[in-house]
Symmetry: C2
């Protein structure tokens, strides 16, 4: 067990910004919101899955919407409202919270609700990265029901998706409700058991995010290369480095979708990388050849300081380095790829694990 | 108390088609569905509000969506599923059902769920006509909460709108869910008390629909004028008569919206009526002058047989007579007009009660 205090938040924001592969909501805004919550209600205990009591009831909370909207319409306490809504609906009280994805602001969303509710959070999440759609969680891939789940906004509206014929319908209905709520909302899923968390969650990802951020900060402090520091914590490789020369980004159907073009610099001069994204980076092509594809992680960081650059902040002229990391093993099974492999996103590309 | 058997359904369909002012869903398809339900599960007791037990728990059920879609994608047993969903959510069992609107297929939607559940229905509804939006019910105008309410589709998806900041938000969220469900769904609202039904419902409208239909059928049988028969049962007047020469109708945002142009025949030759509709007919202008406006009823019937012509069946060349009826008094109060007067629909027209 460790404690998430104000001190850890900056590191978590950096690490979750990297692991978020462009999505998960703006990590800086998430950090500020979590800082305010912890200052007001106190720090939060973080339990490894092994440290959970056997009879824990673990509620997954998260934000839903388009990150491009999330930086203009900042979330308030919706995740707490969604937590109370699902507790009220199920008649069960949560004894711990868990992150839906260890990306961007979603990595700290449970800390906010947990600080307010006086609950611990689990050092784990449902993706080990970020994904754009609700059903894309290891929990649901491995048999945890995705319903009932509650969606709440900042105004006082709340909806329970009670029953759906499959997890994609939960996404579809929750997304349409989120769009009405202003394209930014929070959700909470009916409680999971300890056994379900241990079997289906990607473990120890909140501490991984914290360690990644710590390494980046230490490297900056000592004048070392922050990219090397990242790769020393999380095995992966540099895919490309250059300057953003084009960005096509639109907020549509509740998502931020588009593509990013980078012209190579230094060792990559004369080459070009194009990355397609839907909130998150999904396919990276180097001179037309796929070099990394979802569910593997495609992460953009500022070349100088290793600061993650999320989808909503990407812009023309930025010097970025693209890092690739192999996906957690829970995603590279046949069941995992069926939910979040390249074909699930409509790409006619076969998944090949990134060699590192 | 009376019994709704297969024999009453044709008359109810005619009467509710008239009172539905164009909307409420296709009355013929509603009639066929109700016939099948009553044949399978038995006839349904119809209780006047005065005959309800003092401790009744009355659930309002209805269809939501665009009538243009409802004739292609016929509803199944969604209203029963929505009933069970709201019972499950509230932990209360319904002891009677009530219609949300006495228009089109929605007039018989509770009969279908009631036959299946073995419950009576109340001889009353929440509009005394039909209206396009969920919040436009006398129940909610006079203080009955509109939430929680359940929305269910034919596939097995169900959503509970748990809490909203006002009834318009319930409409907004339910409509967006309905669109995802294929533009046709059913809903059920948390139970009302007997006192609430007696105070806020428009009473005796199911028997009014039946009596209207009986009068039309009798007139046809005897070769009498069915329009006179209608006006003998329900005080109102002929607003116009002619031939449909233009129809602009689009299915958008979950509604069937547009306008209808009728060139006068006989006593109305040389004149023109234009009617604007949103599922229901809302404003009727004769040579540019408003002659009847919502919440008063603007009803199109075939000139020869008095058969109601609903929005989704309206077409070029039909000979129609437009009838006008004053709205129930629950709608012409300041509170009623605020929810369903001309301004609530965006028309810069003052409401003036139709003189009959």
């Amino acid at each position: 067990m460790w404690q998430a205090t104000e001190n850890e938040l900056e590191s978590i924001a950096i690490g979750a910004g990297i692991l978020g592969t462009g999505g998960g909501g703006n990590p800086y805004i998430g950090q500020l919101r979590a800082r305010q919550a912890i200052r007001q209600w106190g720090s939060v205990d973080v339990l490894a899955p092994d440290e959970l009591p056997e009879d824990a009831r673990v509620v997954c909370v998260g934000g839903i919407g388009a990150p491009t909207v999330g930086i203009e319409k900042v979330r308030d306490l919706q995740s707490y409202h969604a937590l109370r809504a699902i507790e009220d609906y199920t008649g069960e009280n949560a004894t711990a919270l868990i992150s839906n994805e260890i990306g961007g602001s979603n990595s700290v969303e449970p800390l906010i609700a947990a600080a307010m509710a006086g609950l611990p959070v689990v050092d784990a999440d449902g993706m080990g990265r970020a994904f754009p759609e609700f059903q894309m969680k290891t929990f649901f891939v491995y048999g945890v029901p995705c319903c009932p789940m509650a969606v709440s906004d900042e105004k006082g509206n709340s909806v329970v998706i009670r029953e759906t014929i499959d997890p994609r319908w939960a996404e579809r209905l929750a997304r349409s409700v989120t769009i009405q709520m202003g394209c930014v909302a929070c959700y909470a899923v009916a409680p999971m058991s300890t056994e379900q968390v241990r079997r289906t969650a990607v473990p120890l990802t909140l501490s991984l995010a914290r360690d990644l951020g710590d390494a980046v900060k230490t490297a900056r402090h000592h004048g070392d290369d922050p990219l090397e520091a990242i790769l020393s914590i999380c095995p992966g490789k540099v895919l490309f480095s250059g300057k953003v020369v084009d960005l096509e980004r639109r907020t549509t159907a509740g998502f931020a979708r588009g593509s990013l073009t980078i012209d190579g610099l230094d060792a990559y001069a004369g080459e070009r990388m194009v990355i397609e994204f839907q909130n998150e980076n999904l396919v990276a092509r180097r001179d037309g050849v796929v070099v990394c594809v979802v569910p593997d992680l495609i992460c953009a960081v500022a070349t100088d300081l290793g600061e993650p650059v999320t989808t909503e902040l990407m812009r023309y002229g930025l010097r970025v380095t693209i890092l690739g990391f192999p996906a957690p093993a829970l995603w590279t099974s046949a069941q995992g790829l069926a939910v979040a492999g390249p074909q699930a996103f409509g790409y006619d590309v076969d998944y090949v694990t990134l060699a590192v």
